[in-house]
Symmetry: C2
Subunit: 205 residues, 2 copies
DNA sequence: TAGATTGTTAATCGATTAACAATC
DNA sequence: TAGATTGTTAATCGATTAACAATC
């Protein structure tokens, strides 16, 4: 019963399933079950089967799931069976860390350029990139057909940069600035904010 | 109707309310309403009133909420009306970025020490910290009574470090390693994983 | 007083889980 | 065949929203 408006919460579990399948594959396993996956992740097996059923039938009764097959299917569903080029905006400490992060490429994403507006940062080398002037961003995004941007700029400029990204018809923003971006609904924003995590955990302290 | 097991999802919205109140205060406003807050955040006003009602009554009919008062109340509820000392484990690029991040202190958290196990990193200076040998971690945590740890280590060592933190009775872990930490339920873990965000957004690409 | 907004209840909506027929 | 596990339906659980009496 393929796609009909998949709940956001299901979409956020798929990458976790995918990662677990990759782990299992690396352990040399060929077959798994909703029960085994659930055990590993602390989810119910019913939830895993239900989540997968939004996209099709991937298992065999009595047997379970072929790990390589399900993995390939999930990659297709999530559109990470290819590599998406990303631009990073912001060459501060966080930008440095993101530029050196080795975890994007094996997951379907590749950083291809870094932009900043500070004169003393432009031209600097980070990992194998040269920081470019953010004024060059629009042309770059259009010419390279960039759909995904990582935003690692200070809070004060985040909204104005986001407005620019809207103009450029960026599809997805991974936002490390405080979560106040005001963008139209067809543009996806995923907020990463350590303070929200810390403060909500502090309730239990 | 004070506390009776507050849903996790409510707890994760409180920091967002708090931040918005701080923004409103900085704009010079003294009073707000569930409607105004909801508008800003894209939440329903009913949700905001419901969320707050888990903790008490903070508004006035016909008027709304006193911003400074509600802000103080939320800080108390979240236990961020004080400053929590944190230890950072991992002095890589991400560790650098976190050590330089200015956003923790005003939100109730302060980084007080950095640990790593790599000989060439130990003794190095990051921000105003000297990187310490991770073997010194247990004593430090006990003596300084640290409850909160930021984990910014490679995936392969994350679980073994986490096991150590369990021993030390750490209460909250902000985890930047891939989300596989296996800890008892009384220890809070908040996972920060950019790949989950990117991959779930990629579905719409 | 008239207007506005709270806190809360009840209704609605959506997500999770239990259960099981189908079937490998 | 007997045992296991899927995909799916129905039941349950929980979260969101609508509505409104209370009241500032």
């Amino acid at each position: 019963m393929p796609t009909d408006a998949v709940p956001e919460i299901v979409l956020e579990r798929l990458p976790i399933y995918l990662r677990t399948l990759e782990l299992l594959a690396r352990e040399g396993k060929a077959i798994t079950s909703s029960h085994e996956l659930g055990e590993r992740l602390g989810f119910s097996s019913a939830q895993i089967r239900k989540d997968l059923s939004y996209f099709g039938e991937f298992g065999k009764q009595g047997t379970g799931y072929n790990i390589e097959f399900l993995r390939a299917q999930l990659k297709q569903i999530l559109h990470v069976d290819r590599v998406w080029d990303m631009a990073l905006i912001g060459a501060g400490d966080l930008g440095h860390a993101l530029a050196h992060y080795r975890g994007f490429e094996p997951k379907g994403f590749r950083l291809v350029a870094i932009f900043d507006n500070a004169p003393h940062k432009i031209g600097a080398r980070i990992a194998h990139h040269i920081v470019q002037n953010v004024t060059a961003l629009p042309q770059f995004i259009r010419e390279q057909n960039i759909r995904v941007v990582i935003l690692a700029v200070p809070a004060q400029v985040a909204q104005s940069v986001a407005a620019q990204l809207v103009e450029l018809d960026i599809a997805a923003i991974l936002n490390y600035a405080p979560p106040t971006l005001n963008v139209p609904p067809h543009i996806r924003v995923y907020n990463i904010d350590p303070v929200v995590g810390l403060q909500s955990m502090a309730y239990y302290l």
